[in-house]
């Protein structure tokens, strides 16, 4: 049983976990800490002696109209370099509920797993092995993915997606996924996504836009004006909601994009749908849903690389003005993230929420997304803006990022930048788009 001082130690360790600090715990404390983590992840986690030789196993229960046993956790405290073998994995899988595939078995070690252990884990589905590095990523993900005291309201964060047994995905060379995200609304996420996409297309690049905002403003701008389509977008046509309901795969939802009734070559769109808001489970973590979207997007891009037409060069995702499930999914799939913001002090809290979510969701990735920086929009050359500029710069310096050298000047007509007339915001976006390409070029 953890006493008060140990509880404080565990809380501190939970806030800043490192593999070294996990190894520094003694065997008993490590067992208790693992249990503490599963409790913070939403499980009712209870220790039980397995047998005299095998030590303790942790039983996991979920609260759903009472307690339901959903899995077991084995804990192995070993020096760095010591490998867990097949025998220890088998012992954990002994329970019939695990062998039949109904319940999950997790094995956490401060050492590592040998090949036989990994093979044994693969033999019985729902077996997941976590090294201390992977367990630390799981902890960092949990930190900002659920409210610790929200027993009835909050979610269960499963560790599956942090283990080697998950289905991995990776970015394909030659295609970049760029996400525009900010917790705050009215900062120019949609306009920036559209304008950067159009500038990329003008440079001969093939771009897929994905609208994940239930307000579907991006979709309206690109589909609403097709002859015969008037009113269809607002009513909600085929769109991303069908991916979530399992009716269609992501690649089946890709449509050509139009601006003012003119088809734009090399620009495609996965439209949003107003019912997206009904599917949103909010800002709590859903690692399996977030990772599934990233996998499916990766598969879509891979398909474009193997098909006869030109491969997609850029996927650009517009997100809702909230830290919602859709924002988390987009960040999970991102290679690069841009945060559009107005130079106002009220921008900072939204930016902080977004950056915290980015750090959290990055734990699901072997190669975390790069924060390209803060794109200042609605720029008005007044003292207030200049003052906030410095504050924003400090904020982004903290995250080893920056403010874009180019910015978007205030332009009341910026949302209607489809036509042929000249707008200074259009010029500004041209420079910003080039800045993005230059940065990504340098990034390799």
């Amino acid at each position: 049983m953890a006493d008060d001082s140990e509880s404080a130690q565990f809380t501190a360790l939970f806030d800043k976990p490192t593999p070294e600090s996990l190894r520094a715990l003694n065997m008993g404390a490590f067992h208790r800490f693992v249990r503490f983590v599963f409790q913070r992840a939403g499980y009712d986690a209870r220790a039980r002696p397995l047998d005299l030789l095998s030590g303790v196993v942790i039983d996991l229960y979920a609260f759903e109209d009472g307690r339901r046993h959903i899995g077991v956790v084995g804990v192995n405290h070993a020096p760095e370099g010591e490998k867990v073998t097949e025998r220890q994995v088998k012992r954990l899988q002994r329970a019939s509920s695990v062998r039949k595939g109904g319940e999950a078995a997790f094995l956490v070690t401060t050492g590592s797993f040998d090949q036989s252990a990994r093979e044994q884990a693969r033999r019985i589905p729902n077996t997941f092995l976590l090294t201390s590095e992977q367990f630390c990523r799981y902890i960092r993900y949990c930190q900002h993915s659920r409210y610790p005291k929200g027993l009835g309201l909050s979610v269960l964060i499963h560790p599956n997606e942090f283990s080697d047994q998950r289905e991995s995905w990776q970015s394909l060379p030659g295609t970049h996924v760029l996400v525009f995200a900010n917790n705050k609304g009215g900062v120019g996420k949609t306009t920036s996504a559209r304008q950067v996409a159009l500038n990329f297309v003008a440079k001969g690049l093939k771009v897929l836009l994905i609208d994940l905002d239930p307000q579907q403003n991006l979709t309206e701008g690109l589909l609403e004006h097709i002859p015969g389509n008037e009113g269809q977008v607002m009513a909600g046509g085929a769109g991303i909601v069908q991916y979530f309901t399992g009716e269609r795969k992501l690649d089946e939802l890709v449509q050509p994009a139009f601006i003012e009734q003119r088809r734009i070559d090399n620009l495609f769109l996965v439209p949003a749908h107003p019912d997206l808001s009904l599917l949103d489970t909010g800002g709590a973590g859903r690692p399996e849903v977030e990772a599934r979207f990233a996998r499916e997007l990766s598969a879509l891009v891979r398909k474009s690389h193997t098909s006869s037409g030109a491969a997609i060069d850029w996927v650009i995702i517009d997100t809702p003005p909230a830290i919602s499930l859709f924002t988390r999914m987009a960040l999970c799939a991102a290679d690069y993230v841009i945060t559009p913001a107005r130079a106002r002090p009220s921008s900072l809290s939204g930016i902080r929420n977004m950056l915290k979510t980015l750090d959290t969701v990055s734990q699901l990735r072997d190669r975390p997304p790069r924060l390209l920086g803060c794109l200042l929009t609605h720029w008005d050359e007044d003292e207030h803006s200049k003052e906030t500029y410095v504050r924003l710069e400090v904020e982004f310096d903290q995250h080893r990022s920056r403010i874009f050298a180019n910015y978007i000047r205030f332009d009341p007509t910026v949302e209607k930048l489809h036509g042929a007339t000249q707008h200074h915001a259009r010029d500004d976006y041209r420079l910003v788009s080039q800045e993005v390409l230059d940065y990504v070029d340098r990034d390799g």
Partner: protein, 181 residues
């Protein structure tokens, strides 16, 4: 060896040397000195264009500039962002973060926190980090520093005076003297 030889060349001497070298490279050695202002203009225009296209070149220019410019003048650089219409970058010091701080120390609506800035940018860059704030903002930050250094106060309530005071408290007076104009 004479002391004269040890002395670094003045800006004027460097200017003449660089102009002569450029004229030699461009085969313009016979040009009258009256025309050199046009050469400077041509160079500036081409360099501006190249800087917009080529970020490495821009970085070399910026780096050469920072090597030449005396520190007190540099720290008075404007904090304005760059013009979106031209892509030109004004002579703005870009600070290099070397650490992080507790987010709660950075109050979106409050005065700058010199302690947080010190953690993010380090001792060397602290005067430049403070330079970016207005005198009113710096004045508002005084209680933060005076709370930790009771009984102390700036010699003058000017921007320079307050920055000197913050730096002397947080970093020490020796370094302070090297950055004060």
């Amino acid at each position: 060896m004479s002391t004269v030889m040890d002395k670094p060349p003045t800006v004027q001497q460097r200017n003449i040397e660089a102009t002569n070298e450029l004229c030699r490279v461009l085969n313009l050695e016979g040009e009258s000195s009256a025309n050199l202002k046009y050469l400077a203009l041509a160079l500036m225009q081409v360099a501006t264009h190249e800087s917009v296209q080529n970020s490495q070149f821009a970085e070399r220019v910026r780096s050469a500039y920072l090597d030449l410019v005396p520190p007190p003048k540099v720290k008075r650089a404007s904090s304005k962002p760059h013009s979106g219409s031209t892509g030109l970058k004004p002579w703005q010091i870009k600070l290099t973060p070397i650490g992080t701080t507790d987010e709660s120390l950075l109050d979106p609506y409050g005065p700058p926190n010199p302690f947080a800035l010190q953690q993010i940018y380090g001792d060397e860059q602290l005067p430049l980090a403070l330079e970016r704030y207005s005198p009113a903002q710096l004045k508002a930050a005084l209680p933060l520093v005076q709370g930790r250094y009771p009984g102390t106060k700036p010699k003058k309530l000017t921007k320079v005076g307050i920055i000197d005071y913050f730096v002397s408290c947080l970093v020490g007076t020796e370094r302070l003297r090297t950055v004060t104009p």
